[in-house]
């Protein structure tokens, strides 16, 4: 099973269109999410299941992390979705509208049963949880730790806003608290924090402003609804050359201080403290994950 550790971008691809599924493999998205839920009309759920199953099983894009978004936990499609999804062997199953940890545990059990029946390694398929309501946001800490399969959690802004009877705006203040709740829950659980979709695919300036918030808050990735968003989102989560050099200088200064037993050190007149060290290490880790070769100690 080919996969990448990068989760900067995950592109939703409707499970009914062979053309879009084929094309999606050629974009720069780290993760592809074949959708059985919102992008598929009620009468085509069966067709989408067959198409997604066969596409992953026999025409899987190389070097992509593959997810299947199944229908909701209380949907009549759930069991058949799981039967098909698990046997297709994606990297992860993305569960929409999660509100309680017990729901994730139940899905985990169902996946395990199917893995055993199909003779697949138990635990091989990961879970991403979509948080799409105030209830889910309030329970995010428990959901993030509901199963060892859970490796990422994402905020679904449109449904969350609806559950709050709030207005969805481009500035995104109505989801600010939820973003932080999801993010902190992910940090506590040590899983990837995925930001909400920016829905207006024609507003690239708006996307850029939204990404500034995404990046400032500390998310690890963002879901895209259109290929045109991928490069901007990837760039947002890929450290710049200046950031990488600064990070190297911070770590170099700390290394020198350690060798000299001075205890403290400065860079550009500012004292280097523990948070700076953590940020520097995070920058270098992201650079490395993005395939950037980071050189040795900066003099």
């Amino acid at each position: 099973m080919s996969k990448t550790e990068l989760m900067r971008t995950s592109l939703y691809v409707g499970g009914t269109s062979p053309a879009r599924m084929i094309q999606s493999g050629f974009y720069h998205a780290d993760c592809l999410v074949y959708d059985l839920e919102d992008a598929v009309s009620t009468g085509e759920k069966d067709a989408a299941r067959f198409l997604v199953y066969n596409a992953i099983k026999y025409q899987r894009p190389k070097d992509k992390y593959i997810l299947i978004r199944i229908n909701g936990i209380y949907s009549s499609e759930l069991d058949e979705d799981l039967e098909a999804a698990v046997r297709a062997q994606p990297d992860a199953i993305r569960i929409p509208k999660v509100e309680y940890a017990e729901e994730v545990a139940r899905i985990d059990e169902k996946i395990t049963v199917i893995e055993k029946e199909a003779g697949l390694p138990v635990g091989g398929i990961q879970i991403w949880c979509n948080i799409e309501s105030y209830q889910g946001a309030l329970n995010a800490r428990d959901i993030a730790k509901a199963s060892p399969r859970v490796v990422a959690m994402a905020l679904g802004a449109e449904d969350f806003t609806a559950s709050m009877a709030a207005q969805r705006t481009k500035s995104g203040w109505e989801i600010f608290y939820a973003r932080n709740l999801v993010l902190m829950a992910c940090r506590e659980a040590g899983i990837s924090a995925q930001d909400a979709v920016f829905s207006d695919i024609k507003d690239m300036d708006g996307l850029q402003r939204d990404l500034e918030m995404t990046r400032a808050l500390g998310f690890d990735g963002k879901t895209c609804v259109h290929p045109s968003q991928i490069d901007a989102v990837n760039a947002c989560f890929t450290p710049t050359e200046k950031e990488i050099l600064n990070a190297q200088r911070v770590l170099d200064a700390l290394r020198q201080a350690g060798m000299n037993h001075t205890g403290v050190c400065t860079v550009d007149g500012g004292m280097v403290d523990k948070p700076m060290e953590i940020r520097a290490r995070t920058v270098l880790a992201k650079a490395k994950a993005a395939g950037i070769e980071v050189g040795g100690i900066v003099q």
């Binding site: 269109s17 067709a47 067959f50 066969n54 099983k57």
Partner: protein, 100 residues
Amino acid sequence: MELIKSAIAGTMESSDVRIILEPNHGGGIEIHLESVAKATFGDAIEATVRQVLAEFDVKDACITLNDRGALDCTIRARMQCAVCRAAETKYDWGKVDFHV
């Protein structure tokens, strides 16, 4: 498996195939293929259709395919869907997948 009614799966979009599957009581398998790639891939498409029908143990069926350049996995998916719809049955995901 016996087909109970006519069923359609797939679309006329590029890279897809639209399949019309009809019961053909006692008439065996009849395949009518229309494809821009018929000269090159016609035999392969027909082989996939027959393989899927055999997996479902369908012995009598009339299949009309309008291929728009679908990959083999898409043809398989659309055929499986059409058979389940025509037979009014759910797919047995637990059965062995013989396709390689």
